[in-house]
Symmetry: C2
Subunit: 459 residues, 2 copies
Amino acid sequence: MDDLLTRLHEALRAGLPAEALITDPDVTASYAHDMASFCPAGTPAAVVLPRTVEQVQHVMRTATALRVPVVPQGARTGLSGGANASEGCIVLSLAKMDRIVEINPVDRIAVVEPGVVNAVLSRAVDDHGLYYPPDPSSWEMCTIGGNIGTASGGLCCVKYGVTAEYVLGLDVVLADGRLLSTGRRTAKGVAGYDLTRLFVGSEGSLGIVVGATLALRPRPPVQLALAAEFPSTAAACEAVCAIMERGHTPSLLELMDRTTVQAVNALANMGLPNTTEALLLCAFDTPDPGADLAAVGELCVAAGATEVVPAEDAAESELLLQARRLSLTALETIKSATMIDDVCVPRTKLAAMLDGTSAIAEKYGLTIGVCAHAGDGNTHPVVCFDHADEDESRRARESFDEIMALGLALGGTITGEHGVGVLKKEWLARELGPVGVELQRGIKRTFDPLGILNPGKIF
Amino acid sequence: MDDLLTRLHEALRAGLPAEALITDPDVTASYAHDMASFCPAGTPAAVVLPRTVEQVQHVMRTATALRVPVVPQGARTGLSGGANASEGCIVLSLAKMDRIVEINPVDRIAVVEPGVVNAVLSRAVDDHGLYYPPDPSSWEMCTIGGNIGTASGGLCCVKYGVTAEYVLGLDVVLADGRLLSTGRRTAKGVAGYDLTRLFVGSEGSLGIVVGATLALRPRPPVQLALAAEFPSTAAACEAVCAIMERGHTPSLLELMDRTTVQAVNALANMGLPNTTEALLLCAFDTPDPGADLAAVGELCVAAGATEVVPAEDAAESELLLQARRLSLTALETIKSATMIDDVCVPRTKLAAMLDGTSAIAEKYGLTIGVCAHAGDGNTHPVVCFDHADEDESRRARESFDEIMALGLALGGTITGEHGVGVLKKEWLARELGPVGVELQRGIKRTFDPLGILNPGKIF
């Protein structure tokens, strides 16, 4: 083993500048984890931080020659353990490949390296009057490569969809080091099977994304928001259904339950209504957002809202969004640890999902706060528990699983936007069924016959 | 061979009602072709018109047992020979599986069988205040299953994207007869590799789509259009670039060249300006389309438009669209045959693409009319020729190819929305390169190890 380690370091060193290779175990150990709890992680044999495609190719050729697993990483803000190290792996961090190569306002595309931080790209395209919608809550830290790996969502999805819808083409280093270009920089294209989309959400298990051509949109008007208080989550969900049924297209439609609202207030004193059972946030970036919000406000009242508070201006709207973005962080302060579910159900089943989650919390004697991209039916039940308490930890894991079972029973999916990683592997098989898993494994073998790309993830 | 034919007919008959199986050679021969010229087609051994999933499964089990190729068909309006019969194949027409199973305005989805005609679905969802955007010119005839197989586009794409963006989940009968469900009926979902998207545009080569869950949108306001006349296609393309650069989002942005305009006038006497070099059609379905059209009109004038004529009302706008939709049919009347290219280039290269196409027409001494989804950079150069004239036919084929070569040289794709079929097989390899083709073939083997699903298509 030590011999392999030496040979691996030597082989890597042969094609990399000194600063791109980390072998100090104290340092490499810090690359073992993403942000998921309860996910096993091994010790990396090396961490590589390449700056060029050729360096990535060298890493993959080396890994293939020595049969060493490779785990690609971005900012490690993932929530499913998808970027956790395997024992003895090469951690391949794309964080230093962070150039924005091109922003083209006529073709409405950006060409980027994978390490570009989401917020950096968003601001850069904004300078050109353009808009890159995908906005995970971690957008100030997470990278485009990581967003592609997990097919990230965010608050924008109810109007603008997820990362997958903005990836036009990819440059990918394959397991054996060969370079593949997929897709296009045109608005349309149907030449052959859609390999681009296959890589999006594949969590680094099919290849290493080293470049991406992204679709942009014209910058919309600044959004204006309202907050509505409801006496129950069911009433808030009724409002959500009414808003969508009436043909509204909000740019944001989010729900925070009582636990979440109180946690955010406790953390940041945002002045949210502490006694509401459910707070609904709705925003429009239309030409006349005030009129749209007025119509939505009426639907909220009809569904039982006790209070509807439109934001005075864009700044106040942004504050409401900040409160929502703080939700996960705030819920993490309740106990020493959290597990974050990501179940997405049809909108019509959202009320049943939230009621069921509440019943699960009661059954297991746990605090489970829920924030949700309500317009998408995408809920994030956050199971709060004490890591040191073995029994509570067990109950946390069981309730986490029961929430996924509920989501599947309601016709939903176990993951709307966080990915499978190691956290939900066994649940993926339940969702896909044996035929689906068999075909997915077949695809994996086609791209990675030696099984060295992020092994042990997804399935 | 006759023995195999007898065994095939018997085996098929064992699991199908009499009216679902056609073996009369005179009738089966009429199922040999889609609408592409120059594409070889074989003689079907049988045509099956199933009405249930079980019947499709029976066909695929039979085909697997006897190693007989299966060619799925919808309305056969395709333009690449993707639905052409192979010699001795089973033609599997999904035309009779034409039920709309569900339309759900809250979840904004429709669940349909593959044989539903695009226009039938569009009208049905319209009755619920909803909108299914994909609108190929053949929308009154073509089926959703065919649209999925070829990842069809249409006039709407510049704002609403292509078919792929509206397919959430699929039921697919695999080569061996097993049933696979992919995707979801939720707004978001990232559980495993995106098999749904892999099937979209796969031209029946990976499985038989027997059900689809489609995303719908709220019905937008009725669109209002303008027509602008330009002294050159280059000037019209300059206007297209200016419109997109200024952040406009038209619901339609189409170009017809002089040849096309004159052909449409000759066919239908639509009163289009007979002497213009390029006619640009632009429409908006925004809350205030008049204001958007006024802004676009100014950009057209700045780019050199000699005349800008806004439609008086929705009816006049619809007339303009009808003229555009007639383009291919009109160009087909110029000579006895046509070959229709489908090259899509980055918007910034559209002028170069059109100038180059014009030069190719001159070089080969042919009439090549061009209509284009200009906002997408998606051009349809239509090569007109006399089928009986061998030399002209050869020149037609060569110019058809040279147009694709030009598209690739400009950073484009050989097919924006019509698919590869048999017409562009060799060109697909040029676009994808050897690594891409190898991986695509690997995927094909995973889904169809015996190679019985629409063999000889795509690659």
